[in-house]
């Protein structure tokens, strides 16, 4: 992890509620794994002192370009939309444990909402290693579906489901997932963005003996393991354990997830 300044290259809305930010992170001298995150200062505004944890949407090691896809939700992310090309932002990262790829076989990614950001980074890495990637993308409306084109261009196969079209129920996603697992040689399944879908992925991983990973979100203060704000409960063996999302996570084996 490193504390450094990044220069903003681009910052624009990609849909009604989502923005994408591109930063020049030449000061970063270490690798970034999909699933890791950065703690970002949203502005110098005194009203929003805390950093925001944002997972990596894309990192190009060659050009040292780091991209975030972020949901404009409150004051902090609102402030982020005001930043312009040439502005500098303070970043702390990369933080946490990222995803791990399977040794072989195809990947199934099940994303909901902004959860697609971190899974996009995983899809990119898997494609760069010539692994087959299938993405089930769920959102409220077709307008909220993000990065479908980008993922398709990478060579991932994308299946979109939405609440508005009535295609996003857990049962529909289950049926589609099972079909893909049976027909496409899926060996690992990943999810982010919905507790209902996480539960589904947990069941699928267990039933079909797949590798499974879940990327979690949490409110954080420090982001590096000192403050214990982002605690969550996981299951290790037969024991429940309280761990920090920022350091032990944010990606956990799906078998360890304790879901409602």
């Amino acid at each position: 992890m490193k504390l450094f300044d990044a220069r903003l290259i681009d910052n624009h809305p990609v849909s009604r509620r989502y923005w994408q930010m591109t930063l020049d992170v030449s000061a970063l001298d270490r690798p970034v794994q999909p699933g890791q995150f950065f703690q970002i200062r949203c502005s110098d505004n005194w009203k929003n002192p805390l950093r925001r944890p944002l997972s990596v949407y894309n990192y190009d090691h060659e050009s040292r370009c780091l991209e975030f896809l972020y949901l404009v939700k409150g004051n902090g992310t609102q402030q982020m939309t005001l930043m312009r090309k040439g502005d500098t932002l303070s970043l702390l990262g990369p933080l946490g444990h990222g995803f791990t790829l399977p040794d072989q076989g195809a990947l199934l990614l099940i994303a909901r909402g902004v959860g697609v950001a971190t899974l996009h980074a995983l899809a990119r890495q898997a494609r760069s290693e010539n692994m087959e990637v299938h993405v089930i993308m769920s959102a409220r409306t077709p307008g909220d579906l993000l990065t479908v084109d980008t993922l398709s261009r990478l060579g991932a196969t994308v299946y979109s489901v939405t609440d508005q079209e009535g295609t996003s129920s857990v049962e529909s996603v289950r049926a589609l997932s099972e079909k893909l697992i049976c027909e496409e040689g899926i060996s690992a399944v990943y999810t982010c963005g919905s507790s209902r879908l996480s539960k589904l992925v947990q069941e699928l991983a267990e039933t079909y003996h797949l590798k499974g990973e879940l990327a979690t979100e949490a409110h954080m203060a420090c982001g590096i393991g000192d403050c214990y704000a982002c605690a969550c409960t996981i299951r290790k063996g037969n024991q429940l354990k309280t761990v920090r999302v920022c350091t032990e996570g944010p990606v956990f084996p799906i078998s360890q997830a304790v879901l409602q």
Partner: protein
């Protein structure tokens, strides 16, 4: 050469800047020069392991934050075998913050740590707002504060720092009680019991409903509390609450603080304590002040 050293009871610190308990840990080592700190204060330790409170445990508020961590802790034995050894190679003295659920627990913790050469002083967290209903804390009663200090005083010769709660009508009464009980210094203060509500969902913004407010927003309240406590006792005061830069630290010293603790600022900027120490030095040089101790309580109210 500017002299930043200060004395907290029998303890001499090379500068007045130290972390506030619960905001500092081994993870900061790559981001901050720990050897430049006046003291090391690891997170409060409890006798037995505690899981901490419900999430969300933090939320941002205007110019500050609420936290309700609830002292997640692995207990005193883990502290002695894992936390203390980690810091033994660093130069600054280590102040152990201890938190008990009863006076007896404080006594047991102090007895256990009294034998540890790696512990230079004890900070008694008699003021955590996140452990009992409605933020009740030992430090809300002068009588309990006196009794608690008196009990702990009997079992250790190490300097005792009482961390006071700001959630009282007259902090002077508690400061005097701590002094009577045998405290060597006071930390003024812990966080302010506070609450925030999400108007969209109508739910409290932290899991425990109420939490402790910290950050820049509380600084004027803390400056006032330091001023009041300084007038009531001769004990050295460690100011804590809302310091974001060197100027804020100087303000607390002028109000009567001998040293300062930095918490929320470290979340914003992990090397904040190093920057603040440099800014204090700059201030002293700019004002041609040789010793920082010359500034303590020097607010001009004439």
């Amino acid at each position: 050469m500017t002299d930043l050293s200060v004395r907290i009871g029998s303890l001499t610190l090379k500068n007045p800047v130290m972390p506030a308990s619960g905001t500092f840990g081994p993870e900061l080592a790559p981001l901050l020069d720990i050897n430049q700190l006046g003291a090391i204060v690891p997170k409060s330790i409890t006798l037995s392991a505690r899981g901490g409170n419900q999430t969300p445990r933090v939320c941002e508020t205007d110019g500050g934050m609420l936290n309700s961590i609830g002292i997640q802790s692995k207990g005193i034995e883990h502290y002695i075998t894992h936390i203390l050894p980690f810091y033994q190679d660093y130069e600054p003295p280590l102040i152990a913050s201890i938190s008990g659920e009863s006076i007896e627990e404080f006594e047991l913790l102090a007895m256990r740590l009294d034998k540890q050469p790696g512990v230079t002083a004890l900070e008694l967290n008699i003021s955590c707002p996140n452990l009992r209903d409605n933020g009740q804390a030992f430090g809300m009663s002068a009588e309990t504060t006196d009794e608690l200090l008196r009990t702990v005083r009997k079992v250790t010769g190490k300097p005792l720092i009482a961390k006071l709660t700001p959630n009282v009508t007259r902090i002077q009464d508690i400061a005097e009680a701590a002094e009577r009980g045998g405290a060597d210094a006071l930390t003024v203060a812990n966080t302010f019991l506070a609450m925030a509500i999400d108007t969209e969902t109508r739910k409290p913004r932290i899991g425990n409903i109420m939490g402790g407010l910290s950050g820049a927003a509380v600084k004027p309240l803390i400056v006032r509390l330091i001023y009041q406590a300084h007038q009531a006792t001769d004990l050295p005061i460690i100011g804590s609450g809302g310091i974001m830069n060197g100027q804020d630290a100087i303000e607390m010293i002028l109000a009567g603080a001998t040293a300062v603790q930095i918490g929320t600022a470290t979340f914003v900027q992990p090397n904040a304590m190093n920057i603040i120490t440099d800014e204090i030095t700059d201030y002293l040089e700019r004002h041609h002040i040789d010793k920082i101790t010359d500034l303590i309580g020097q607010v001009d109210v004439s």
